[in-house]
Symmetry: C2
Subunit: 361 residues, 2 copies
Amino acid sequence: KKKPHFFSTLFFHIPKNCEHDMKNLIHSFKVGFALLLVSLVYILDPLFEQVGKNALWAIMTVEVIFEFFAGATLSKGLLRGIGTLLGGGLACLASNLARDLGKIGYSIFVGGLIFIFGAMATYCRFIPSIHRRYDYGVTIFILSFNLVTASSLRGQQVMELAYQRLSAVAMGFSVCIFISLLIYPMWATDELHRFTSFKFKELATCIEECVDGYLVVGEKESHPIIHVSSCKSVLDSKSTDESLVNFARWEPSHGRFWCCNPWEKHQQITDLLRELASNVLSLQGCLKSTFQPSTMMREAIKEPCKTVGLTIGLIMRELGEIIMKKKMGNVETVMVPELQSIKLKLIGLSTSNLGAIESVE
Amino acid sequence: KKKPHFFSTLFFHIPKNCEHDMKNLIHSFKVGFALLLVSLVYILDPLFEQVGKNALWAIMTVEVIFEFFAGATLSKGLLRGIGTLLGGGLACLASNLARDLGKIGYSIFVGGLIFIFGAMATYCRFIPSIHRRYDYGVTIFILSFNLVTASSLRGQQVMELAYQRLSAVAMGFSVCIFISLLIYPMWATDELHRFTSFKFKELATCIEECVDGYLVVGEKESHPIIHVSSCKSVLDSKSTDESLVNFARWEPSHGRFWCCNPWEKHQQITDLLRELASNVLSLQGCLKSTFQPSTMMREAIKEPCKTVGLTIGLIMRELGEIIMKKKMGNVETVMVPELQSIKLKLIGLSTSNLGAIESVE
């Protein structure tokens, strides 16, 4: 396989997947605009006189926290703010406590604090619940703590330093939030629903292809057309799902969504979808097996098989539509049991039906 | 499910998984030590006189690039260095080119550059090959470019600023590399092999449990004991695998490993393992089905079934051992075809054997 050239990737990447790329393009312009806006503190004289060199922190904040989804930007920004506040506050407290230690004593005290807090915070980052949701906040906490404590050694006004840094972060944060939430916002919530609905439809197609494939397999010159890749992409979607849910949790209510969206249920659905995909993948594997029932046998069960395939496909597409139209109320009562029953049907199809057919022969 | 309390998580987390936690603890101490070492530029007078306030960048570099695996630290450090170099260099060039534009013209020029480069770099981050491996470098590039260009507006010596920032990053990077590679290094390469080997063994156990479960299912009071969770964790390991391979690529050769480790082959193996896991999961699903063959039938095929289960388990464990002992030469010739044949065997087991049994009855 020849690797694509960098520039050909860059230029021919654009027309491939238009809608998605349009979103990427809009996001890119939004980031450019946010950077321009925050750079105004350097460009305009009255702003620079007020903020001074701390404007650096504002630019850094925008560059680091501006993410594709509004929820991601919001979470990173809030975590950065809280981390800076806690880290800076603790550093101020520590430097005030140890003010009378003398130069050498104070140096040893600061060194010890930096080591202990650095090690403790790093260990905290390994705890799964913290790692999943607050990792960035802990990094910023320890960074702020170290910078403010170390600066206090050099006679700088730590309270002022911490305050200036915090206000610069707040400035960058406001620019990000303003642009991310108000100009063509990309909601992780919407993407999560679109993606889940898409997976339902992909699996529906896969199941229908499987049933069709089963009915023609073994016939001469017939190669069942099955798109394994879409099944595999559903199987591999766990990390995407998790990060989308993670971002969606931070998003304010908008459109049809309410604050208390049942995200746990959403994860249950995507877990079941992945389980279903693994079953469909096994079915597809069965079609490649050298042990296949005879044409006569297949003819005998053609009709029920087709009905099962079509019904499952229909239900899956319907469920995909329900999710897309964001009728979230139906999820608990209709979708989870329905998915479970589809799973049982498929398992039944993959074992007992085949067995029954063989015994018919 | 009751959510665990923060402190109970923190304190009871430690004894659960000792070996792994020992590594986390060592890593935490290494980070604390690295932060202490780089803070010495603030603490020791002769060092501070040389470096001045740019020491801030050194502390930031250590905090941001020090990762668990040596390869991750190396890649982040190198990308940060290259990003700073390119971004700073380009900003110097731009500010030299536009020196004669006058204050207002120069401000507009800088604003335009910040917008265009910000948008272009952000768009580049969406290209999959760049996103996967160079994302961090692009972020740092645009950050350095903006900071240096914006500072140039305020009459600061941009060449000097870029140089100082680069040297501070280099200082932080050397501290990280020194501690990460020389003191109890955590190699992603080792972890990748350990993890793959572990997956082989887990799947071996699952397959054996499935076969045993099949032979007792339906018998009164017998509930086949099958650990679905280990199968599911293999299925969900794609993102872990990808990031481990990504880090392992950056690691220098050490121990039995050579620079040209066949990482593509490794990804093929883990892809096949996930496919196998999905098949095993389907088998486990079959055991829960209400359609089950009679005890008599199962007795008839008890012996061949047991043999198949044991053989597959044996081969899988052997393959896991081979990977653990890092005899990488065998991968191409023995492992991939062997895995393929195991897959075919399992598919055969899940369809034709069952069919054959039914027809026996």
